[in-house]
């Protein structure tokens, strides 16, 4: 947390992995959980499926957020695709003291990172495949990633997720959305 009470989160994903939507949903979840101010900042260029993309969310318990700039020292980093960890631009964002949430079924080679990290793994891709939670070109990773993030941070629980997802995507898709959220919430593990 920054000294002004703002928590900053960086999302690393690939085009089509729904990381940008995740940054926006996280802002909504935090606001619903009575954070005073939130902002979701997608970095948008010429979007292509598979290209590395970044997004940021800033959430603040007490103070208004007055900045629009990118997050450079995040408190949390969500990695939607482990292959991104090899890209220097992504790697350099992982600094001492950061909490990482990585979508991975397998364990991660810890020698890649600084030592003073908290690392959590969740098999979001596996959950999506298992539950048939897919869009035209792959798994919809944002909901399970956010389920896991709620669990490890305690910033919001499944009830808040249910409320926001119902408002955002309606009653019809709620059960499916909540199934993958719960799967991730219950299976995320610390390394």
């Amino acid at each position: 947390m920054k000294n002004n009470g703002t928590v900053e989160i960086t999302f690393h994903g690939r085009g089509g992995q729904t990381a940008i939507t995740a940054s926006q949903l996280l802002a909504q979840l935090a606001y619903e959980e009575s954070f005073k101010d939130v902002i979701a900042i997608p970095i948008i260029g010429a979007e292509r499926r598979g290209a590395p993309i970044q997004a940021f969310t800033k959430i603040s318990r007490n103070k208004p957020i007055k900045t629009y700039d990118s997050v450079v020292n995040p408190d949390y980093i969500m990695v939607f695709d482990t292959s991104l960890l090899e890209i220097p631009r992504v790697k350099e964002t992982i600094r001492d003291g950061v909490t990482l949430l990585i979508n991975s079924a397998k364990s991660i080679d810890l020698s890649l990172f600084p030592k003073n990290l908290n690392i959590y793994l969740v098999d979001a891709t596996g959950i999506c495949i298992n539950r048939g939670f897919m869009h035209s070109s792959g798994p919809i990773l944002n909901i399970p990633m956010l389920g896991a993030f709620g669990k490890i941070t305690g910033y919001y629980d499944l009830k808040i997720m249910e409320k926001v997802l119902k408002k955002e995507y309606g009653e019809n898709r709620l059960e499916k959305n909540m199934t993958v959220a719960k799967d991730a919430y219950n299976s995320v593990r610390e390394v």
């Binding site: 926006q24 802002a27 909504q28 606001y31 101010d37 939130v38 902002i39 979701a40 900042i41 997608p42 948008i44 957020i65 007055k66 900045t67 629009y68 700039d69 990118s70």
Partner: protein, 418 residues
Amino acid sequence: MVEATNDFVQEKETIVIKGNVSAAYAAKSARVQVISAYPITPQTTVVEKLSEFVDNGLMPGTQYIKVESEHSVMASIIAASKAGTRTFTATAGQGLFYMFEMLHWASGSRLPIVTTIASRGAAPPWNIWADFTDVISCRDTGWMTAFCATHQEIYDEILMSYKICEDSDVLLPKFVAYGGFILSHTSKPVIIEDQDLVDSFLPPLPDEKGWPHIWFDPERPLMFGNLIMPSGFYYEFRMKIHDAMVRAKEKIKRVAKDFEKIFGRNYGNGLTQEYKMDGADVGMVIYGDLALQMEQAVDDLREEGYKVGMIKLRHLRPFPVEDIIEIAKKVPLLGVVDRATAFGSPTGGPVSCEVKTALHEVKGTARILPMINGLGGREVTLEQQKVQLKMLIKLNETGELPKDMLYGTLWDGLLEVK
């Protein structure tokens, strides 16, 4: 004629939405009757959201027209406005340039059209990110122009704009501009107001007689905008547009006051908004998204004991000459930050030129440091803005100008050019 309807309910709610969606909600809250649309990044989601509202029956009675270009957007909006309806559209960058010819047709016909601009850089090379050169290039078209610094301000300014534009002493069109992507695609909490309250704030929708200055009756057809000889009233019409524009300043102030009374949100006097200028040694004049982040820079430096303040410029047209003079009497030095260009002009930045012009021949006013920043969406960090404020303090104390000035203007945050 489109019928005004009352059969949708909007209760006050706060939702986390993109700046573009905030604009769409404002158009809905204002009960606009005709929307004409052509998509262009980064504006597209404004008209997408409105098409969704119309499609879902949330804007009963609203006509949504899809056309083949921005030129046609404005042509159709002009026709709809002439017929006496409240109209809305949105565009950006190249789309606005393509619309340009029709802009004069709108202001020349004195039509209260409100158009949002998700400002972006001008090509080439292609650029879709924040840069106000697009809307400022339309400075002399007779359109009023407002800048927004926050997602909430987009919603609020659109509502205020209808009230200003439709005032019978004004009757001019208006741009509501905000930085592309920085506001259009980021999401923040926005209060969508209770419909009854918005209805009580805005003037009633025009009745079948339309606007007071246009006699529009299909039974008795008339031609509009035909050729006028040099001996005709063309010259006088121009004088009246300028007169209305200048007098709109008082209306803008009054509407901002009314707005605060009803909705509780303060936007200074409507034209400008001072921030921590009391006891300041230096100040920064700044507009758009950069203004909000500059507030944080001012907050941080004030905490460190630096006496700095800022003025958010909310309107470019009409230009708040009196406010600028008043502020420039308070401090010996003002920085003016442009996220826009005016090539070959005295300072290179459009607003710093305006500020200097306003202060011309006024004794005892601040020295001006023109600055350019963040063109084409180049990221401007909080740290960078704090350095800018400290640079002003240093300039004020020592007279030492920053390095890399180009013809008297500081282009801050340039990459090294070899």
